[in-house]
Amino acid sequence: MTYIAKPKFHHPGLKKNELGYTHRDYEGKISTLCAGCGHDSITASIIEACYELSIEPHRVAKISGIGCSSKTPDYFLGNSHGFNSVHGRMPSVLTGANLANRDLIYLGVSGDGDSASIGFGQFAHSIRRAVNMTYIVENNGVYGLTKGQFSATADRGSKSKKGVTNTDNAIDLVAIALQLGATFVARSFSGDKTQLVPLIAAAIRHKGASFIDVISPCIAFNNHAGSTKSFDYVREHNDAVNRLDVLVGRDPISVDYAPGTVQVVEQHDGTRLALRKLDADYDPHDRLGAQTFLQKHAAKGQIVTGLLYVDPDAEDLHTHLDTVETPLNTLDEQALCPGSAVLDKINASLR
């Protein structure tokens, strides 16, 4: 069974944050994902970031679509409300929730299949609308839950587990988020907790649309070495997924490297990712510069990680709609209903 990596100091009664909460208060159910799945590492980073920010766990609304990645909100912040909506439609549900109550923190969790294919439109529109949220894509280049089909972020020329070559161009969600006007754009790697935790924390603090694309290796479908039959068998008997890791489990990949350097990461299947961490003197306030930087390194086969762009003065959808400060879901009939006297006037104007 996959357990969320728990930090050493995690003993009840030990370290507490400003609000007096321990790590446990930020945990959720036990993950049912494959052991070694990058998504579980992201879960751990979300827990860590929320702990460090001293967020009240129940003031977070965690919303997702459908996919292995979209299951993860069940595995963190057990005292907050989660919503596993429909495939690719997390952004609209989150937008609605945010309109109803601007006071909560909105965490949107999605997969590359969820966000770059069926939900590509919703991804784009929630960002261009500047919904105040932290939108995390757990990007493994494949459809995990439906067993290994290419997703739209898979590189052209890459091979699937079944040996099929991908002939379509890849969608770079970060490049698109930048183009659509996201006011916080980052890319990271699930195994780089040192980088990911502060990025998530900063994204949550950011008022506006924050987007983080997290490269997150899929052990099951980046793993070409045997066990396919057993894995498929277990996969088809969904309520037995917990046994998966016994069959295919691996340690999650983790990295730790210095800003400005390139780190080559070997995935479970032996493919290699060249991660380039942004320099300390990189200017993340230049949207155009960020786009160029991204493209330049992509051409070299490098995946740039770090905070690519941030607008510290960002506005959000509520600012654009000029809504009242009071959450709309708390307004009552007194505040909302114009009353019978007004209706009489309306009637009179219709004669």
Binding site: D74, N101, L104, E325, P338
Partner: protein, 615 residues
């Protein structure tokens, strides 16, 4: 051709305007309808517009009806033929003895007229061109000039028309005086050159009373304001767009914080219907009252989310302004063709609540009530309008609101209740009515949170695919739907003057035509008890009504007798007992159609044994 005497009728006739889309005629035509109302005479106008924007034909029909028959009548007594493109068809559609009004600037060959109608030519273009030089002015004022000529021909009081123009251009003196001038140009020309008035006349009366004149879509939008909707997400589609547009303008007027000027509402034009319903579901999940307005194609796209609303039990309000389908069908024509699609929308076993308002007044009431119902039942509520009510002005009783009314937010467990130690199971049926409690996100630091999902779960919202757990939940949803039966508007029954073995069921916009048809049928000697269905799930009285009659006609505006199917399916009724009366050419159903269809069937019964007639 036989010599036909011209139709002569006071306060009871149909005028149809044939125009070119984009010529600015709409406001002049509407002014005509409103002017007659100001004479105290009811009117029932209808837009007839094909799905195009500029340059193609469009019609506007005004039924003048002292008796207050608000359904479409059928037939045209006077055609105001302003569109050369549709001339032949327009001329052909005039009733024998009727009138043709046209622009006589250019001479027309006599072959273009009919001998059995009265032809009235007014050189509109010539008058306009000699008065105005600006091309746009020429186009717009030509419409007001023909309105002026009609005033003289139909004996309308020009003072009442002027008064209306005054209201329309309040504060815009220049526009006011130039419009009044154009009106008089037309009227004076007609008085000097034509025999005025003609056989069709308007005479002052007192039959309008305190009724108001409003479009169903606008009334439904106002219902959403009164019902406390704060979030609206929508995607443009005819004939529903004007709901969201009206909601926007009503909110701008009535929903701003007096101190800060900030909006107590959020309106988002979604990127599509998928997003619109997603936003509604997200907002409702988070405790706001939210709705979307759409039409058939939008419903098709929304169905996956509607299933989620049903199964995860999240409130949602969808206003479906029906148009003729399937697919793009006839986008600007009316039908009642989404009954089945909405009642069972989405995959798996689902059932949804439908409300069927008959007119704008009910559209207002039902729209407001839909939010109470959605929260009370935690499910999708469909407000089923159609183009005929939605996009046409209807005369209806004034809108009413009881200031003592409080919104029914349904079963919501608060932090205090959780603190008291109340057992919270998101899908626990504590009261036996199938309706569980919910909590809003952010309610309590340690209690009451749960995970919302479309996958199966137990009573405490824990994921489970165990068969018994799933079945338990599905059974409870059936119980909840049974509870809904007594919460939705009940059907209304009216009995014939004499006891009868026959009944008729109908719903929605068919109402005024049905009312009129009953009178016609009575005059033909046919007695019918009638019941107007106002909601699905059907109240038990629907089954009793059917049981009380030998057989019952079901009148609807679709090909496949969808309401009848639903009644048969849900109530286990023998289909033979329900005789379909179906109108589905995209035009609003008329009293003539209903009376003829039922009347012929009834006449047939008199000479045929019953069993043969109904099989």
């Amino acid at each position: 051709m036989s010599v036909q005497s011209p139709i002569s009728s006071v306060n009871d006739f149909v005028v149809r305007f044939a125009n070119v889309n984009g010529s600015g005629s709409a406001s002049a035509n509407e002014l005509f309808a409103r002017s007659i109302l100001r004479h105290g005479v009811p009117v029932s106008p209808r837009n007839i517009f094909p799905s195009n924007i500029q340059g193609l034909p469009t019609w506007y029909e005004v039924r003048v009806t002292e008796d207050g028959h608000l359904g479409a009548r059928g037939g045209v007594d006077m055609m105001v033929a302003m569109n050369p493109q549709t001339w032949d068809k327009d001329v052909a559609s005039i009733e024998p003895g009727g009138y043709l009004f046209y622009d006589s600037t250019k001479p027309m060959p006599t072959s273009k007229f009919r001998e059995d109608i009265t032809v009235i030519g007014v050189p509109l273009t010539a008058i306009t061109n000699s008065t105005y030089t600006d091309p746009r002015q020429r186009q717009l004022f030509k419409n007001i000039i023909y309105l002026g000529a009609l005033c003289a021909l139909l004996d309308l009081d020009p003072k009442l028309v002027e008064q209306l123009i005054g209201e329309q251009y309040k504060g815009k003196e220049k526009l006011l005086s130039s419009n009044v001038h154009a009106l008089h140009l037309g009227r004076d020309w007609a008085l000097q050159n034509l025999k005025c008035p003609i056989g069709l006349r308007v005479k002052k009366s007192d039959k309008v009373g305190d009724r108001i004149f409003i479009e169903g879509n606008s009334a439904a939008a106002l219902g959403a304001v009164y019902g406390g909707a704060t979030v609206c997400a929508w995607y443009p589609i005819t004939p529903s767009s004007s709901v969201a547009e009206a909601f926007t303008s009503h909110c701008k007027k009535y929903r701003h914080d007096p101190e800060t000027g900030k909006a107590k509402y959020a309106i988002v034009q979604g990127e599509d219907e998928l997003a619109s319903i997603g936003i509604v579901i997200g907002a409702s999940w988070n405790g706001a009252r939210a709705f979307t307005a759409t039409s058939g194609p939008g419903i098709s796209l929304m169905t996956e989310f509607i299933g989620l609303s049903y199964f995860a039990e999240i409130p949602a309000v969808i206003m479906n302004i029906q148009r003729a389908g399937p697919s793009t069908g006839m986008p600007t024509r009316t039908q009642q063709c989404d009954v089945i699609a909405c009642a069972y929308a989405s995959h798996g076993d689902t059932k949804h609540v439908l409300l069927f308002p008959e007119d704008p007044a009910e559209a207002f009431e039902f729209a407001a009530a839909a939010f109470d119902l959605a929260e009370r039942l935690q499910t999708t509520i469909f407000l089923m309008l159609d183009l005929d009510i939605g996009m046409n002005h209807r005369l209806c009783r004034p809108l009413k609101w009881d200031d003592a009314k409080q919104y029914d937010r349904g079963k919501v467990m608060t932090a205090e209740m959780l603190e008291e130690g109340r057992d919270f199971g998101r899908y626990l049926d504590v009261d036996g009515d199938g309706i569980p409690y919910r909590t809003y996100p952010g309610t309590h630091p340690t209690k009451g949170s749960y995970f919302t999902r479309g996958t199966s779960r137990d009573r405490y919202a824990r994921y489970s695919e165990e068969g018994a757990v799933y079945a338990d939940n599905m059974q409870r949803l059936v119980r909840k739907f049974e509870t809904a039966q007594d919460m939705v508007p009940r059907p209304l029954q009216a009995n014939a003057a004499k006891p009868t073995k026959y009944g008729v069921l109908y719903f929605g916009s068919t109402s005024p035509a049905m009312d009129e048809a009953i009178g016609i049928l009575e005059a033909r000697g046919h007695q019918l008890d009638r019941m107007r269905i106002r909601a699905f799930p059907f109240h038990s009285s629907v089954a009793s009504f059917i049981a009380d009659h030998d057989f019952v006609y079901v009148v609807e505006q679709n090909r496949d007798a969808q309401l009848r199917q639903l009644i048969v399916n849900e109530n286990g009724i023998d289909p033979v007992r329900l005789v379909p009366i179906l109108h589905y050419d995209g035009t609003p159903i008329t009293a003539r159609f209903i009376a003829n269809s039922i009347g012929d069937h009834q006449d047939h019964l008199k000479v045929t044994p019953l069993r043969k007639a109904v099989t």
